[in-house]
Symmetry: C2
Subunit: 335 residues, 2 copies
Amino acid sequence: MSTVTMKDVAKLAAVSPRTVSNVVNGYLHVSDTVRARVLAAIDELEYRPNLLARNLRTGRTHMLALIIPEIDVPYFSELARDVIDVAGDAGYRVMIDQTAHDHERERELLVGNDRNMLFDGILFSPLVTQSEIAEMDQATTLPLVLLGEHTFTGRFDHIAIDNERAAHDATQHLIDRGRRRIAAIGDQPLEDYQTPRQRTAGYLAALAKAGVTPDPALIVPAARYHRVDGYEAAARLLAEAGRPDAIFCYSDLLAMGAMRAVLDAGLRIPEDVAVVGIDDIEEGRFSNPSLTTVSIDKRHIAAASVHRLIERIDSPDLPAVQIVVPHSLVVRGSS
Amino acid sequence: MSTVTMKDVAKLAAVSPRTVSNVVNGYLHVSDTVRARVLAAIDELEYRPNLLARNLRTGRTHMLALIIPEIDVPYFSELARDVIDVAGDAGYRVMIDQTAHDHERERELLVGNDRNMLFDGILFSPLVTQSEIAEMDQATTLPLVLLGEHTFTGRFDHIAIDNERAAHDATQHLIDRGRRRIAAIGDQPLEDYQTPRQRTAGYLAALAKAGVTPDPALIVPAARYHRVDGYEAAARLLAEAGRPDAIFCYSDLLAMGAMRAVLDAGLRIPEDVAVVGIDDIEEGRFSNPSLTTVSIDKRHIAAASVHRLIERIDSPDLPAVQIVVPHSLVVRGSS
DNA sequence: TTGTATGCGTTATCAC
DNA sequence: GTGATAACGCATACAA
């Protein structure tokens, strides 16, 4: 049991606990001889500060909560990796909470985390609706940065790509490839949720610019963005008359499922049906065929959001900012 | 600021803090009228217990550390998902630390976590060597469960599949398919690391049973188990004379890379080269072709290890156990 | 530059 | 069944 406390170190070094604290926390005004004595005592006793006590005293835990739908969705696991790394470099550790697409649970996590003082701040990748975010605005007082959503409420910082433009670029690429019957998978018309809405807007804008009349039958919603959802949506598209010659998926994972469905239908990618995604997960670099996608710089998102959150922890009254992270089209085998 | 404390609740309910604590913690001997009064006060003030103070007082944080190489490796993100879920159901939260294949960092994490009282226990998926685990045995005093490695030291619980048998089953399947020049990717001959060693043993055992003389040139090491490592290893194999007719990869991720290399070489899967992995990550269910693999029940591993860790937290002197989680071969398109 | 004393918010030990 | 009070280990206001 690490029941060796600061007091023990103080006694062995023949100084007061105050001085030990000064040494541990790297304060300046400690004479070299005393510091050496204290460090020797720390070393001998193998003393480590009890973080629980320190946290209670300072009110800071140097822990962040990362709230995401599911850690096993590649986009989130790749993002989490960078978040943990960047936070670690800044002296913070990261606790992961999964909302599992449950709005109720999402609210509980936010409010619970808020009140129990366990975290200095929250990185939140929401699937809540606009109105819920407004409600959240009232309920939460902890520093919080929103990932992936550009939705305007007063208090929160937002970090995301330009969703509309990303969708536009993906669609434009398919148009440039000569495709005209371009399907879109991932809309969520029933939800008051910004990301899919913006992507559909970008898709429609690109079609309009090219003078292509959108076919509502080609816009297939997806409740979640898993492989199986992409598979089912694409299978449905291919089963109907007026088959698409390209599919734009709102996430790479949807695209992986969609590609599988196209192949299962006996069609060729990209000759018969081209496929494009968004995210640039590593899986798409090795898939067969490799996946054309809109690359999101996750490291950039992680760094910007962690640093912004820490800024806000240190200065809670900073005005909210919107940070737009650049994206770029990566053309691979699927188109 | 949630600066509303137990004292405030006590005052409003006209009871002592002690009674509030009793109510919050669900102790029995509280009269119904008093309990109702306290609950009403809690509700009115929106009181939430300060977990930092509780943690300091009780010495328990109800937080676990999950130490893994990288969260963005699908096997680990799928495992982490289950670990977080299972732990959550048991009232624990999970902090993820990534060792990034750095032995030094791995040691620091273990020792650091150990001394600073922040976690009640550690789930550790090691890449350390046998001798390092022995050393660790001395340095650490926190409840700790080892994932994935079966290596015998006195103090730690181990949860894993039977690696040798899993490798045997995969190889045997390829033999049953009529393959004889079966390559293996993933050995780590320079490391004193059990998992690859056991898998190579299983591979060799299956060959021996079938009367196939192993060709050392077909056993290709891989320092890490990423897609690119599988790609490079397979590319090397295919470039040499005496091309294999099957490749057994020690992880699905290696297999994804290997499949890509086979296809890039203009060969067909499984007609020219069959491929088998281990892990059963979801990616392999949708890949083209879909991947034959040894399925590991990650939910089972997560549940067994979390529950065992909690048992050990509650009763530190329990004897160490070895839990072997069942595996099963899943045959898909790649073989 | 260093020592003394107090309090962070909770739980637990005693009494009543 | 409930109330006063000490203590968890640390950081800091104040004093020296």
